[in-house]
Symmetry: C2
Subunit: 223 residues, 2 copies
Amino acid sequence: MKKAVILLSGGMDSTTCLAIAKQEGFSCYALSFDYGQKHSVELTAAKNIAQHFQVTQHEIVTLSIGNLSGSALTDPDTLVPDYVESNLIPSTYVPARNTTFLSIALGWVEVIGADTIFIGVSAIDYSGYPDCRPEYITAFQHLANLATKTGIAGRSIDIATPLIYLTKAETIRLGHQLGVDYAMTISCYRATQDGLACGRCDSCTYRKKGFQEAGIVDNTQYQ
Amino acid sequence: MKKAVILLSGGMDSTTCLAIAKQEGFSCYALSFDYGQKHSVELTAAKNIAQHFQVTQHEIVTLSIGNLSGSALTDPDTLVPDYVESNLIPSTYVPARNTTFLSIALGWVEVIGADTIFIGVSAIDYSGYPDCRPEYITAFQHLANLATKTGIAGRSIDIATPLIYLTKAETIRLGHQLGVDYAMTISCYRATQDGLACGRCDSCTYRKKGFQEAGIVDNTQYQ
């Protein structure tokens, strides 16, 4: 059975990726990160989701980068802002986050003998983070094969990004068809420990808009 | 004053890199990792070295990848082997280690407004790890600029590898000229908690050979 590592934050996109990987017949190894995020309740969601989808293994890696990231998502002195329409990268940006997550996934891929990493990035309804763009993924794909024993042995490691050109609404429709229960997922950057969403941060804004556009009932629990 | 992040393991190569960065006039931000390595005494060396070189800041990031790395350096059930001449990548290989370390350094570079990362890789006297080769570094350099706000803003992030084409002997001679006291550094994969080296692992073998070829007294403390 072919194996894949799935980056699983506990949000909508990564959960949809997991559902896609399952449907494609992968034995799924879910990988989550405790990196000092204020909305660490997403890890509880990730655990429940991993269990629901009966993944082969779920690992939560601790990564003490909170001090180094200068992000509103980790810095106790910087509030997570409400969504504002802008071309600027918002303060919720965590520098090099996807690169770090993909790197650790890459190590795990080698150890378990997998050849695919799923990451739920989208370059459509997103906050302008540089590490969600197709050209970034292509560069990581190239790096992955130079960085590893697997690559040297001539086997290619695939960075699978099935959502990269999908709007949030399209992702939701796809997940819906695959039977994803989005009530299990947490997107909110200011989620309470009970998993209630603020409804006003970037992440909530894109999520709400997605459900509206998809014409699917939004069963997110708001504060 | 220009700033750089220096990946500092506490070994010879990274310490030489730090000495080079200091000499080049950088304000140095040293970055070490507690990733479950058995020879964690190298972190004590890293602390002493960082202090000795009066770095601006030294951070030790915890990274719980021990379970995922399948390496003799982290797995309690796999012994670190003696050096054997071979074309195979040895069991001390930690998959995607340099990619993970460079990724976290990349995040820190953005936060402190630096534009250089020093990494002490060498493609000459080394264990054949894929992530020490020039083509790997070139690929990471390319990725770094696509992955970051800094790169998007048109400023380039430089991955500095001053030792990449140096033999271990040449590195030691260079460090010697710069006043590096290699007795402060720990290379051994089986170092005791007192910092005594085994003299027989890959890392000790390259180190010993380096001192011999450089014609410089080896003041490493062996068991």
